[in-house]
Amino acid sequence: MDMDWDFDDEGVQKLTSPGEVITSATQFMRGHGTFVEDNDVVASLSGTIERVNKLVSVRALRTRYHGEVGDLVVGRITEVQAARWKVDVNGHQDALLRLSSVNLPGGVQRRKLESDELEMRKFFEEGDLLVAEVQPTHGDGALNLHTRSLKYGKLRNGQLVTVSPVLIRRRNSHFCSLPCGVDLILGMNGYIWIAKHVAENQKEGEEGFDAEAVYSNKNDDIDMETRAAISRVSNLIHVFARRSIPITDAILAEAYDWAVQQETSPSDLLRADVGDTMVAMVTALA
């Protein structure tokens, strides 16, 4: 049996079109994005074919984020409403962040007062970026978020890059530190936050919950090297995303080293030839 039906004669990955016969159903199992008709596995989406052993599925090109409980997401506040915020997380609908699901200054156990409701913009206002965890969803499919951990909350000192959610794999920790002095938050919804590295002992602590720092809108000083590192990482992510390569900290660290060795400037990475060489090098290593 020809195993390379997802590639054309030149070894280039093909795109399926709905109704296209992929393979025989007697030898393979149908996965997402396919259906069985007359003993054939047929694509029901336009996308790329994925195969895990005997399971064949089609991955759509562009997908919205479908939240699952416990996922880590990066989002942007779109609206401030009564006792809750609306957050864009690249889903069908905006997610909800209730005032009761955030940590307020004054300790974890602090009660929410009416006065807090009146000054919600002190904590998050429209356009603010945050990292949060998904809680059980609302009846109509809207996600509920919470930031009741010191790891979560407002984001600053960095840059947001958006990629397709399918490129982010679920893993033990979505908070990564790259050796180049850059912290990475890989949101399951495809939003990636790249920021200046904060040393473990300098994070805002539990005891002296420092409201100024946690809800601050002001960036720390970021030196030129860190800025260059952030933009280099963000361009690397663009390059990988263009080629539909899953984003992990390992692959980024590898690519970063390569980019530094080659002495390419951050913007050079976006040139197709440089990108191709980089991807070929890094995927060969992996």
Partner: protein
């Protein structure tokens, strides 16, 4: 036979829809957006399949009888290509916005939505469904408009020249299956016209394929040009 008008496709420009496409065929432009499967209101809920809601909006004025007629046509032409049974008790919304003016012809009382415009809407709808990737499909429906210019069959008719429009459903690389035909002419010409329209629809399908491959980063054209936008 002449060539098709120049086709242009923009994907995913509406950020709030699951899938969207703006299709330009010459100067005829249509915008389609797809959302779904989503919660369905109880009156529309079907126990065994998704409810397909189609809205057609003309460029000017509110949707009248004509828009409703087109809505029905598009719905019945698209239904065979969608696996609605895969998302029971849900709603799939398709909204089509015509971006080319309806014309005032002396022999019609109302502004008339041209056949080219209908074909563009159909193609935009298909592209939006493909872009969304959230609705399972059995095939892709591509439409092509035909007309007569000086007694010759053409695929790029002006509004006065157009005589009909055809939709074909393509499954993989198999020849298209006719799912929609609106045509006025001599019965003897039917075979010829339908086969020309099929060729036209195949060109649309190939165009879609090339555009989607480019969007997926699988094609090789124009990559440099696009990447420059991301430069700092």
């Amino acid at each position: 036979m002449t060539d098709l008008p120049t086709l242009k496709l923009d994907l995913g420009e509406l950020s709030r829809a699951d899938g969207s496409a703006r299709l330009a065929s010459g100067s005829t432009i249509a915008l389609a957006s797809v959302t779904g499967p989503i919660d369905v209101r109880s009156g529309w809920e079907k126990p065994e399949e998704a409810f397909l809601e189609v809205n057609v909006r003309p460029l000017e004025g509110i949707a009248g009888t004509q828009a409703r007629a087109i809505m029905q046509t598009l719905k019945s032409a698209l239904t065979p290509s969608l696996l609605l049974g895969r998302a029971p008790r849900s709603l799939i919304q398709l909204t089509l916005q015509s971006l080319s003016p309806s014309s005032l012809l002396p022999n019609y009382a109302q502004p008339r939505i041209s056949l080219s415009s209908k074909a563009a809407m159909m193609n935009a709808a298909t592209a939006a469904f493909l872009d969304a990737g959230s609705v399972s499909m059995r095939g892709v429906v591509c439409a092509c408009v035909v007309g007569m210019r000086d007694g010759v069959l053409v695929l790029d008719p002006t509004e006065k020249e157009e005589t009909g429009t055809f939709g074909f459903m393509f499954q993989g690389s198999e020849p298209g299956e006719l799912v929609w035909a609106e045509w006025a002419g001599e019965e003897a010409d039917w075979e010829k016209v339908a086969s020309e329209a099929r060729t036209g629809a195949e060109i649309v399908r190939d165009f879609f394929r090339a555009q989607f491959e480019r969007a997926a980063g699988l094609g090789d054209e124009d990559e440099d040009e696009e990447m420059v936008e991301h430069e700092l």
